[in-house]
Symmetry: C2
Subunit: 245 residues, 2 copies
């Protein structure tokens, strides 16, 4: 079975269309596809996809889109991951891993111990970057529904997550293990779940207390100290493995 080429097309509709610059570059420069080449186009906003082909490459890249259908592979469950805003490219890695592991909503949360402060144009550029990473990771892993990504203050992140979700906040000093609580939560196939983790410096006592007051359950991943990116992949990996594959 050959891996099928997949490319995101916003506002996907049946008929002829012009590829965006990024998609044109990907199809004709990165993959070196020519006129007549077939691929699967997916709309990141609507989780629909369609067979597509390249019909012209002179100047703009023209595509022909066949009938739309629901995307074959989308996330099965609403999963939110709240990641405390961390330094360097740690949040990039979390967005990428979260997308691969089936998260539907990533919230990067500005915390008291977040070293980076993002405001104005830098803030917008960073969110735009995370959205690009999510879209690209979705394409690579075969999902047609990249997660929403937004940047919020910690308190907003704690209150805006669906209150019917089973919500777990990772806390190194709290002794209740995540495993049994997560397994219980997964028994309901449709129940949304949410996880939250602090920045590399950890959450403050106030942030922990606020989460707890809002109904987040404080849970531990055990004795070893995990890096921010490893904690995210570990928790979401557990979700993935125990969702039934």
């Amino acid at each position: 079975m050959a891996t099928r080429v997949r490319a995101p097309i916003e506002g996907l509709h049946e008929g002829l269309c012009t590829a965006s610059e990024a998609t044109a570059h990907y199809l004709t420069r990165v993959l070196r596809l020519g006129v007549g080449a077939a691929f699967v186009a997916f709309d990141p906003e609507t989780s629909r996809e369609a067979d597509a082909s390249i019909v012209a490459i002179s100047g703009k890249v023209q595509l022909e889109i066949q009938g739309l259908r629901p995307a074959r592979v989308v996330a099965r469950r609403a999963v939110t991951f709240v990641q405390g805003l961390a330094k360097g490219d740690k949040c990039d890695a979390v967005v990428r891993d979260a997308t691969e592991l089936g998260v539907t909503h990533v919230i990067i949360a500005a915390c008291a111990r977040s070293v980076v402060q993002l405001q104005g144009p830098r803030r917008d550029a960073r969110v735009e970057r995370w959205l690009r990473i999510a879209r690209e990771a979705a394409r690579q892993c075969g999902r047609s529904d990249p997660p929403r990504v937004e940047l919020l203050p910690w308190d907003d992140a704690m209150t805006r997550t669906a209150p019917d979700a089973r919500r777990f906040c990772l806390h190194v000093r709290e002794s209740a293990p995540l495993g049994p609580a997560l397994l219980a939560a997964l028994e309901d196939e449709n129940a949304p779940v949410a996880f939250a983790a602090g920045p590399e410096g950890g959450l403050t006592a106030e942030e922990i207390a606020f989460a707890s007051d809002q109904g987040w359950q404080l849970v531990s991943l055990g004795d070893l100290v995990l890096r921010t990116e490893t904690a995210a992949a570990a928790v979401l990996g557990a979700l993935r493995v125990f969702e039934g594959g």
Copy 2:
């Protein structure tokens, strides 16, 4: 609770000793500790540790080691992770994540589709590098027992893993999900477990068949295509979460 400084000392014994160059650099240059500073010394080979202090920094760094005790945090279960030799720094990331997530034995396996071929001095240098990464990750996450790391051909990796271990080989096209089988395996608190994953190009039909013949169970992580590093962190994260934290 302040985080305690930890440093590896090979051949740890009670009394006075001279720090290795790497440990001396870490204590006095990276952390800028001076005479009298206290830390926890651990022996990566024997999983024992001891309170220690710096007694002199003129020329060599001299240490005083107190009575040895079993290390407080070590892996609870024998866990092997076999990773197909992958390109770039992917294997570095797998060694680091595996150490944080409690693996006791990492085998990097040379596979038919491994793009890199390591032989002679380059091979030795690479294994040495992985051992350093494991030791450093153990120090950072608080383990006193970094995993063994070795490089073997795939077939040797498949046959040398303890046959009493529950062994799972990740295979994207195989439909049995990992979750239920892993939960069953973890019910025995002392049973060793082992996981194997191919390089980024995947395992060949022959490699899969060989693993299966040797008693490895072929399992899937679901529909989405995971990068090599993500797959390792996901599987080991599931192990960690369901070990009980």
